[in-house]
């Protein structure tokens, strides 16, 4: 389907400069350099050129030109993605939506916000705070990541179990299609007639359209939030305690688990007062009305004690709550301090398999000769193993990738999936062949073609070409064995 562009770089730049400010059609390597990767910096590519439009009409004209000439288009928000979904195409355009950074309207009575796609996630809640409202999904990158990117990745965060993912918090999106049409999908009503294209677009990683406006739902800020911290002497007990809370009928605002490595690293970094000798730590936040929080906190403390917690501590002030969360929120950079590099994975598993998965990961860690720290959105089963490595040691990144691939395969084997919230992008494209068969992958390709008949939007990402899948499926086992042997020799 994909053929070579029928236009040269110079011609394309000239055509774009006819309607986009010349300074914002970037063609020189030095200025394009910052666009060569997103948050997954191991995967880099220089684009043909970068363009920063400032109106929807300009986006439309860019798409029409690229469609006509078969030029790939990679839409980009803040570039914080963790699967190389915004990695440029060397024959294509990076379409940065950085200039679309205005909050268009907040309607406090209807509890909605109309946003340009380049608005930062956190900025929405900051602006809504004056009305006692906030925006639910809060990915860890929320200071920098944009709502357009959140739609593309169906971003989550720590509050998903109770407040949902991006897909649950959208009313409508305006997109420019590959062919240059502007369409609004969804409405101010909660449900629309016909097939749910809004859900289909959410999490489509920039393969189906370019988001140019987003309308989100806002939630009333809870009256109170308190967090219970519980330490356990085994991962199994902590895992059981997660089930215990949920069986009890409590849906926490956030429920996070950290393993021993992460506890010590985070405590060193943030001085949060974590129980450093614990093998697993749970942070359980309950939010709601004063009465509800009071009732549920007491119950949560009791459940944790009954299920063998070695320490239980409940925040008594907003400062203390912030401190307890600080360690968790800094867990990634904290782990970064104990290793030259780390690689953040993102699988999801049914929670009942947590102890098994973590102990298997321990074994693999020894086989591959690489340390792994675990932070985990325990409430919704989303694992973030951080594999520690040193990119300067030849072969160590390759070994890390193989370790990561083995973890993802295990996630699928226990009934989970290869990505909970970071997306497939380039990074996990090979593992798609483990989770889906050829017929399913072909259905994805056909859906893509319905939106983008010539395949110019973010080509080569998210859904693998079938010819590589068979190869990967048969190689995967052999390679896994081979890497194990290599690791043992290195280790």
């Amino acid at each position: 389907m994909k053929t070579k562009p029928t236009i040269s770089k110079a011609e394309l730049a000239e055509q774009l400069r006819a309607f986009v400010d010349a300074d914002f059609v970037i063609t020189d390597d030095e200025t394009m350099k910052p666009y060569e990767c997103d948050g997954m910096s191991m995967y880099c590519e220089m684009p043909l050129l970068v363009v920063l439009p400032e109106t929807v009409t300009q986006v439309q004209r860019i798409m029409r030109i690229c469609h006509k000439h078969g030029v790939p288009v990679v839409a980009r928000g803040a570039g914080t993605g963790l699967s190389a979904g915004a990695m440029p195409n060397k024959e294509g355009v990076v379409l940065s939506l950085a200039k679309f950074n205005r909050i268009l309207n907040i309607d406090p009575l209807a509890r909605t916000a109309s946003l340009q796609p380049g608005v930062r996630n956190l900025a929405i809640s900051e602006e809504a705070a004056q009305y006692g409202l906030y925006y639910g999904p809060d990915p860890s990158s929320q200071i920098a990541c944009t709502i357009g990117g959140n739609v593309a990745e169906n971003s989550g965060g720590v509050h998903c179990l109770k407040y949902g993912l991006t897909v649950h918090n959208l009313l409508s999106v305006e997109i420019v299609t590959a062919e240059g049409d502007v369409v609004t999908v969804g409405s101010d009503g909660l449900d629309s007639c016909g097939m749910d294209l809004l859900a289909l677009l959410t999490g489509s990683e920039g393969l189906l359209g370019v988001v140019t406006e987003v309308k989100v739902k806002l939630l009333p800020k809870p009256e109170v939030a308190q967090v219970v911290m519980a330490g356990f002497d085994s991962v199994q007990k902590a895992g059981d305690a997660v089930g215990g809370i949920i069986s009890h009928g409590i849906i926490p605002g956030g429920l996070e688990m950290m393993d021993g490595y992460a506890i010590v690293a985070a405590d060193d970094f943030a001085g949060a007062g974590y129980p450093r000798d614990a093998k697993a730590l749970l942070l359980c936040e309950v939010d709601g009305t004063e009465e509800e929080v009071h009732e549920h906190i007491a119950e949560a403390e009791e459940v944790f004690r009954k299920l063998g917690a070695t320490s239980v501590r409940t925040s008594q002030s907003e400062e203390e709550r912030a401190l307890l969360w600080l360690g968790r929120k800094c867990a990634f950079p904290a782990v970064g301090r104990i290793s030259p590099d780390y690689y953040c994975m993102d699988g999801t598993i049914p929670r009942r398999h947590i102890a098994y998965v973590l102990s298997e990961m321990d074994k693999m860690s020894q086989e591959f000769g690489l340390r792994v720290a675990n932070v985990f959105h325990a409430g919704d089963g989303n694992l973030h193993p951080l594999i520690l490595f040193d990119a300067n040691v030849p072969g160590e990144f390759e070994r890390t990738e193989a370790f990561g691939a083995a973890i993802l395969k295990m996630c699928v084997d226990v009934g989970g999936c290869i990505t909970g919230e970071h997306g497939v992008g380039v990074e996990k494209i090979r593992q798609m062949a483990i989770q889906f068969n050829d017929e399913e992958l072909q259905q994805f390709h056909d859906v893509k073609a319905a939106f983008d008949p010539t395949g110019i939007l973010n080509p080569g990402k998210a859904v693998p070409a079938l010819k590589y899948c068979q190869e990967y499926r048969s190689l995967e086992y052999k390679q896994h064995k081979h890497e194990h042997t290599e690791a043992a020799q290195h280790g």
Binding site: A110, H168, D181, V183, G194, M195, D196, E291, E295, G416
Partner: protein
């Protein structure tokens, strides 16, 4: 409690080979939804494809075959103190989970707890090529591949036969209470929206016959404290009232044969000024209208109110019954349909005449 997916798959393959069309039928309680079923099509009956495939209360996830009646699912959940939070309408004991998803039907709690589409985690689907495919999964967070599962919500079976659904389920609230008071239609939208903007455990808000009904659910202490603070009489028969609303058995729905229109609009938009009776649900987001008119008359009213309208029940079902689509979206939807069902086997013309 049987898996007849292979039989269903064979029937699709036969239809394909023979150039036939198929109308999908489950419990056959929602035959009134959508355009008139095609008279030339055979029947693909999924009602025997029943049973709970997997249920782990601790995971808050249930996987169930599409022909399973809602009532069976709810009975199993209730044993574990759990429920379907989207409160699906039952149009009879035979109403199934598959039909509920295909029609994207949710009850009074929808603005607060999400819709059936929101709770779907994964599906299995037989497409028009007779392939039995699996999308999504059984975990809350899963962004691998396009969200084909939620795409089915509202598609009325036009993309394929849903055979299995994995759903998020939730604990039943410990306590519930309903407050009722008289409020005029002029003020009620502001009232319901203001209450919804407060951080209180509100889980339903509707208006009918000059009265507003608010439901509070959650921790007992929180429900009681909020009821104390807010105005309105505690309604003893609150649970029964909401059940009638959920199943569309309230007098408003059963008391007339006139066409029933569903407006899905901005919750704060002024109510359309047309002659007829209104039932305002979802704190203003969903408004039911009983009265005569054409879809072409209703659409501009819905558009002004920021949303869409469809003919839900009764009226002329030989023409279009769903809000019209702009050309670019119509084109995309036809192509999406074609990608799943290239020979146009499933539910021809049920959603739109052009699909």
């Amino acid at each position: 409690m049987a898996d007849i997916s292979q039989q269903l798959q064979e029937q699709v393959l036969q239809a394909r080979a023979g150039g036939e069309k198929l109308n999908i039928v489950g419990g056959n309680t929602k035959a009134f939804i959508g355009r008139e079923p095609s008279a030339d099509a055979g029947t693909l009956n999924v009602s025997e494809h029943t049973g709970i495939v997997d249920y782990h209360p601790v995971e808050l996830v249930m996987t169930v075959r599409a022909g399973t009646p809602l009532a069976d699912i709810e009975a199993v959940l209730a044993e574990q103190g759990q429920a379907l939070h989207f409160e699906p309408p039952h149009f009879g004991p035979e109403s199934t989970i598959g039909g509920t998803l295909a029609c994207n039907l949710s009850g009074p709690a929808r603005p607060w707890t999400g819709s059936v589409r929101d709770q779907v985690l994964g599906i299995r689907l037989i497409n028009g090529k007779g392939e039995h495919l699996r999308f999504g999964g059984e975990v809350m967070k899963n962004v691998a591949g396009y969200d084909v599962s939620r795409l089915q919500a509202g598609a009325l079976g036009t993309l394929g036969l849903i055979t299995e659904i994995s759903l998020k389920v939730m604990p039943s609230p410990a306590a519930s209470m309903t407050l009722v008071q008289e409020v005029g239609m002029d003020e009620v939208l502001h009232y319901m929206n203001s209450r919804s903007a407060e951080p209180k455990p509100i889980t339903a808000a509707c208006w009918v016959d000059g009265k507003v009904y608010l439901r509070l659910s959650g921790a007992k202490t929180a429900v009681e404290a909020t009821a104390e603070k807010w105005s309105g009489e505690v309604m003893e028969a609150g649970a029964e009232f909401w059940r009638l609303v959920q199943d569309m058995q309230h007098d408003f729905f059963t008391g007339s044969d006139e066409a029933l229109w569903r407006f899905s609009v901005n919750s704060t938009a002024a109510n359309p000024a047309i002659e007829g009776d209104w039932f305002i649900d979802w704190a203003g987001s969903q408004r039911w209208f009983r009265g005569t008119g054409q879809l072409s008359d209703m659409e501009p009213l819905a558009r002004v109110a920021g949303g869409q309208v469809g003919l839900f029940r009764g009226g002329d079902r030989s023409g279009e019954v769903m809000h019209s689509q702009p050309d670019a979206l119509k084109r995309i939807q036809q192509r999406v349909k074609n990608s799943f069902d290239p020979d146009g086997i499933f539910n021809p013309g049920r959603l739109y005449s052009w699909m």
